[in-house]
C-alpha cells in the first residue's frame, strides 16, 4: 500500500489482521465508500473520526458483513469476505461488535445475553459459558448485575454488558461503532475506561468515535474520513498537532 508511507503503517505481512483494499460501497446511487485502503495490525488500536455521513460506520460494518461491499477486498486474519456463508460466519465469530444503541437482547438476562453466543455458536457447555460470562462481567466491573435484565441497567452499564457479550466469543478484533454517542455525559467515562483496559491488554480495536481525548490517549493510529474517503492517517501526536490535509484541518478546527 504505497498510499500511506507513514511510519506507523503496518509493514510485516504476518502482522496484518484486517485488510481493506480498494473497497467501494454504494447505497443506490450514493457512494458511501470510495477506494478504502486500510490495514490494521495485531494489537493495534485504530480510531476512525470524521464528520457524520463520511462513511465511518459503513466501513466497520462492512468488515463483519452487516453491510455488503460492492468492490475491493476485505480480509480478516487471512479469511477473505466473500459470498460464501461459511466465510461470513467465520469472520463474524472472530470479530466482536459494539453498537451505538447497545442492542442487548431485552428478553434475556445480562448473563444469558453474554453466554448465548458461546453456547450456541462455540458449543460451550452452559456451566463453562456462565463461568466465562461472570469472569467477563468482572472485567467490565458489573458482576453484581448478572441476573438482571438489560432494561434494569443504566446506559453505561448496558454498554459494558454489550462489550462483555462481544468479548465472550473471544474475538480477534473488536469493532466499536460510536459506543458512547447514545450515553448521558456522566456515563461516557465508565465505557471509555473499559475500552482503555481492553486496549492495554492488547486487544485489536477499530473505534469509530467523536471522543478526541480517547483517540489521543489510546490510538496507535487515527484515520480521518470524509465523503466516503480516507483523507488522512497518522499517529495521534502528529495528527492532532500537525495535520497535512486541508479537510482534516477544517474538521479539527471545528471540533477542537
Amino acid at each position: 500500500m504505497s498510499e500511506f508511507s507513514d511510519a506507523t503503517q503496518v509493514t510485516d505481512e504476518r502482522d496484518v489482521l484486517i485488510e481493506l483494499a480498494h473497497v467501494d460501497k454504494f447505497f443506490g446511487d450514493f457512494q458511501a465508500l470510495r477506494d478504502i485502503n486500510l490495514r490494521v495490525g495485531r494489537q493495534e488500536v485504530v480510531v476512525v473520526i470524521g464528520p457524520s455521513g463520511s462513511g465511518k460506520s459503513t466501513m466497520i460494518r462492512c468488515i463483519n458483513r452487516l453491510e455488503e461491499h460492492d468492490a475491493g477486498r476485505i480480509a480478516v486474519d487471512g479469511v477473505e469476505l466473500t459470498h460464501d456463508v461459511r466465510n461470513i460466519q467465520e469472520i463474524r465469530r472472530e470479530t466482536g461488535m459494539v453498537f451505538q444503541s447497545f442492542n442487548l437482547f431485552p428478553h434475556l438476562s445480562v448473563l444469558d445475553n453474554i453466554t448465548l453466543a458461546p453456547r450456541h455458536v462455540r458449543k460451550m457447555s452452559r456451566a463453562k459459558a456462565e463461568a466465562l460470562g461472570m469472569e467477563l462481567l468482572a472485567t467490565v466491573r458489573i458482576p453484581e448485575q448478572a441476573k438482571k435484565y438489560p432494561g434494569q441497567l443504566s446506559g453505561g452499564q448496558q454498554q459494558r454488558v454489550a462489550i462483555a457479550r462481544a468479548l465472550a466469543m473471544r474475538p480477534k478484533v473488536m469493532l466499536f461503532d460510536e459506543p458512547t454517542s447514545a450515553l448521558d455525559p456522566e456515563m461516557i467515562n465508565e465505557v471509555l475506561d473499559t475500552m482503555k483496559d481492553l486496549a492495554r491488554e492488547g486487544m485489536t480495536m477499530i473505534v469509530v468515535t467523536h471522543e478526541m481525548g480517547f483517540a489521543r490517549e489510546v490510538a496507535d493510529r487515527v484515520v480521518f474520513m470524509a465523503d466516503g474517503e480516507i483523507v488522512e492517517v497518522g499517529a495521534p501526536e502528529h495528527f492532532f498537532t500537525d495535520p497535512r490535509e486541508e479537510r482534516t484541518k477544517a474538521f479539527l478546527s471545528q471540533i477542537l
Partner: protein, 402 residues
Amino acid sequence: MNARTWARRNLFRSVPDGVCTIVFGALGLFLLYKTLNYVFFTGRWTIIQDNLKLLMVGRFPVAHLPRLAVSAIVLAGWAGFLAGFVRGRQIRDGKAPAHVSLARRVRAALGRIWLPCTVILLLLLLSTTIGPWLTALGAAAAALAGWLIGPFVGKRRLGRAGATILVLAVAATPLVLYYYIVTAVGFDGWGGFYLNLYLALVSIVLCYPLGVLLALGRRSKLPLIQTISIVYIEAIRGAPLFVLLLLANTALQFFVPADVAPSKPARAIVVFTLFTAAYMAEIIRGGLQSVPRGQFEAARALGLSPTRQTGLIILPQALRNVIPAQIGQLISLFKDTVLAGVAMGLFELLEVADAITQQGDFRGQRLSPEVLAFSGLLFWTVAYTMSRESQRLERRLGVGTR
C-alpha cells in the same frame, strides 16, 4: 375517607353527575333485579338438567362414557405434570421462588381457576349421576399428583434415553387418548360442548406453528416461499370462514371418494387450522416488524446462524409483543366452532341447544333463552379464562419492560 365523602366525590360531584348517577344507577338495579329474578325464579332450568349429558357430550354412547372420564383424568394429570415440570425448571433457573407458603399457594391457585371451578361445580350440581363427580375428583387428584411429580422429573435423573422416552410419552398422550376414544365411538359420534372444546384445542395447537411459518415465509428473501405465503394468506383471509366450512362439507366429494374422505370433525379442524393460521401469520408478522433492526444486527454480529437468530432472538420478542392480538384470534377461533354446527351439521353445543328445545316435553315452551344463556355461560367461561391467562402470561414475560 368515609362513605359520604366518597359518594360526593365520585357520584355527585356536580348536578349532571348526580342525574347520571341516579338514572344509570336505577337502570343498573333494574337490570340486576330482572337478571337475578330470571336466574333464580322465572327461568325454567329443568331443560338444562334433563339434557345435561346431551349438552356436554352430545350423543356419545352412555356405555362408553367411562372412556371419556378416564381420558379427562389422564389429561388432567398430564397437564399438571407439564405445569409442575415448567415450574421446577423456573425454580432451578432462579426465575420462580422455591418456597411459597401453602396458604399463599392455595390463594394464588384459586385466584387463577376460581371461575372454571365454579362453573364445573355448577355443572356437577346439575348432574343426576355419580360419574361426573368421580371424574372431577379424579381429575383434580391427578392434576395435583402430576404437579407434584413434575419438578422432580426435570432434574436430569433420567439420562438421555429416559428423557427421550419421557418426551415421547408426553407428546403421545393426547394421541393415545384420541384413539382410545375414537376406537369406541367414531369421530362422527362426538358432540356437545366437548366437541367445541376439542375442535378449538386441536386447531389452536396446529394453527400456531403454521402461522409462525407463514409469517416467516412472508418475510423470506426467497421469492418462491414469499409468494406462496402471500397467496395463501390473502386467499384464506379473503374467504368467509362459513363458506370454507360449507366447502369442506360439500365440495370435498368432488375430489375424494366418499369412503376415504375424512370425517366431518376432522374436516372442520383442517378448515379452522388453515383459516386461523392465515390470521395468526399476519399478527405474528406485526410482531416481527416490532423487533428493532438492531436486534437482527446484534444477533448476526455474534455469528448466530439464521435459524438461531430467528429462534433465540427475534421470535421470542416478536411473539411476546403481540400476545393480546394472538389470544384474541384464538378466542375467536374457539367461539367460531359453533359455525361447524350450522355449516357441517356437527352436533356441537349450539346444535344440541337448538335440538333439545324441540323435544316432546319442551316443545313450544319457548325455552331458547334458557339454553342459549347456558351455552353462552360455558363459552364465556372458557374464553374469559383464556383472556385472563394471556394477561398473566404477558406479566410473566414482562411485556413493556425493555
